[in-house]
């Protein structure tokens, strides 16, 4: 068989359920090898040079699966990778069945006014992020849409998953970790109004969970300050 481009994946996806059309990727839900599966397909960007585009897209795919393994090794819940097709830039992942994004969870819980639960959730997020940073994984796109919450079946304890590692990279620098948290803070406070106190709890728990956290939080303060100065100038 020649070096032809296989149509297997595109044909498979044409019958799958599209659940999100993003700027970089399409996300589908399907049955694969008998399991509920999420397929993330990174597509071409027409405005980019084809060779550069191919390189960037490949790199994102590779970064995503590498960080997933690194997190799993450290005991951080992230979806299992079942299959990667580097030709169509598709990652086939475990579907975290019955989960909702932390974003949706906070939005609906805020309405029902169950503060205690949200505080617990914020603390868990702080913990898991400090664990991730201790592994020197910088997520690169921390938002509450990139965290999934699955309610536990028996014990009622729910499980928190991190997803969407396409912009992730490895770094031990407190500055990079601080920026990671800054990105989350911006996204968190703009998505969820009046949650400054809740986010403080998240950071407190981050601080308490790692020995390296104080250097990171110091950087976070610096980055915040820079951000403010920039917005005063611009």
């Amino acid at each position: 068989m020649a070096q032809e481009k296989s149509m297997a994946v595109p044909e498979f996806l044409s019958k799958a359920e599209l659940i999100k059309q993003g700027a970089e990727a399409r996300v589908y839900r399907a049955q694969f090898l008998g399991k509920p599966t999420i397929v993330k397909e990174r597509f071409r960007k027409r405005y980019r040079h084809p060779v550069l585009d191919e390189k960037l897209t490949h790199r994102r795919t590779v970064q995503e699966v590498r960080s997933i393994l690194r997190c799993r090794r450290a005991g951080i819940s992230v979806p299992v990778v079942y299959f990667v097709d580097y030709t169509s830039h598709c990652i086939f992942l475990e579907d975290v069945v019955g989960s909702s994004t932390v974003r949706d969870h906070i939005a609906s819980t805020q309405q029902s006014d169950s503060c205690k639960e949200l505080v617990r959730l914020a603390q868990r997020v702080g913990q898991i992020l400090s664990k991730m940073h201790d592994e020197d994984v910088i997520h690169g796109d921390l938002t509450t849409s990139n965290m999934l919450l699955r309610c536990g079946l028996e014990d009622g304890e729910s499980e928190l998953f991190l997803i969407d590692f396409g912009l992730s990279y490895i770094s031990a620098l407190p500055e990079d970790k601080g920026v990671d948290l800054y990105v989350l803070e911006k996204a968190f406070l703009s998505t969820h109004p009046n949650t400054e106190a809740l986010f403080e709890r998240l950071l407190k728990s981050y601080a308490a969970s790692s020995k390296k956290s104080s250097a990171v939080l110091k950087k976070l303060d610096e980055v915040r300050l820079r951000g403010r100065k920039r917005s005063m100038v611009g």
Binding site: M1, A2, Q3, E4, K5, S6, A8, V9, F12, A30, Q31, F32, L33, G34, K35, V62, V65, R66, I68, L69, R72, R73, A74, G75, I76, S77, V80, V81, Y82, F83, V84, D85, Y86, T87, F92, E94
Partner: protein, 175 residues
């Protein structure tokens, strides 16, 4: 007793697995595979946690076969190669291939969905007892697998051993 799964990505193809215990002629079976009398991959089931592991390897092998990017010379050897977490072909055969003295063997066949597979052709060649494929988990050597795949204790807290194994198989090309 056998397990057949149609490949979602390649709708005309299916993967069939058959498990045998108390096998007395592993060397002969290996010879049959070499000569093409058995057109399948012979696997050492003690290195398998679950039949899903084989499906992951077979799907990946078929995909690379279709685009001409296999690392080995045949689809059957590619399946065995894909079971290893690293990129050493002879190591893959040593760990996951059937060896002469083995007393259990898992046979993997990739075939056309509609092709009437003569499973009796395989059973007739094996001096041993066919058992349900799911029983593979009773043969699993967990210690060996943990060591080969370098699975951490932490990791098994957030997922199963199968999860850990599959994840490494799926992304070994970029690790």
């Amino acid at each position: 007793m056998h397990l057949t799964h149609e490949l979602e990505l390649f709708p005309d193809l299916a993967v069939t697995q058959m498990l045998f215990k108390d096998v007395r002629n592993a060397a002969e079976l290996r010879q049959c595979a070499v000569e093409g009398k058995i057109n399948g991959a012979l696997i050492n089931p003690t290195m398998l946690v679950h039949p899903f592991q084989v499906l992951v390897a077979a799907n990946k092998a078929v995909n690379l076969h279709k685009v001409g990017k296999m690392k080995t010379r045949s689809l059957n050897s590619e399946i065995i190669f894909n079971l290893l977490p690293t990129n050493n072909i002879s190591e893959a055969f040593k760990r996951f291939g059937c060896s002469d003295g083995d007393d259990s063997v898992l046979v993997v066949l990739v075939h056309n969905k509609d092709e009437s597979l003569l499973l009796s052709d395989i059973t007739a060649r094996v001096s041993g007892r066919q058992v349900p494929v799911e029983e593979v988990s009773s043969l699993t050597d967990h210690g060996k697998i943990r060591k080969l795949f370098k699975v951490t204790q932490e990791e098994e807290k957030c997922g199963t051993l199968l999860d850990a194994v599959v994840c490494r198989m799926a992304i070994k090309d970029v690790i």
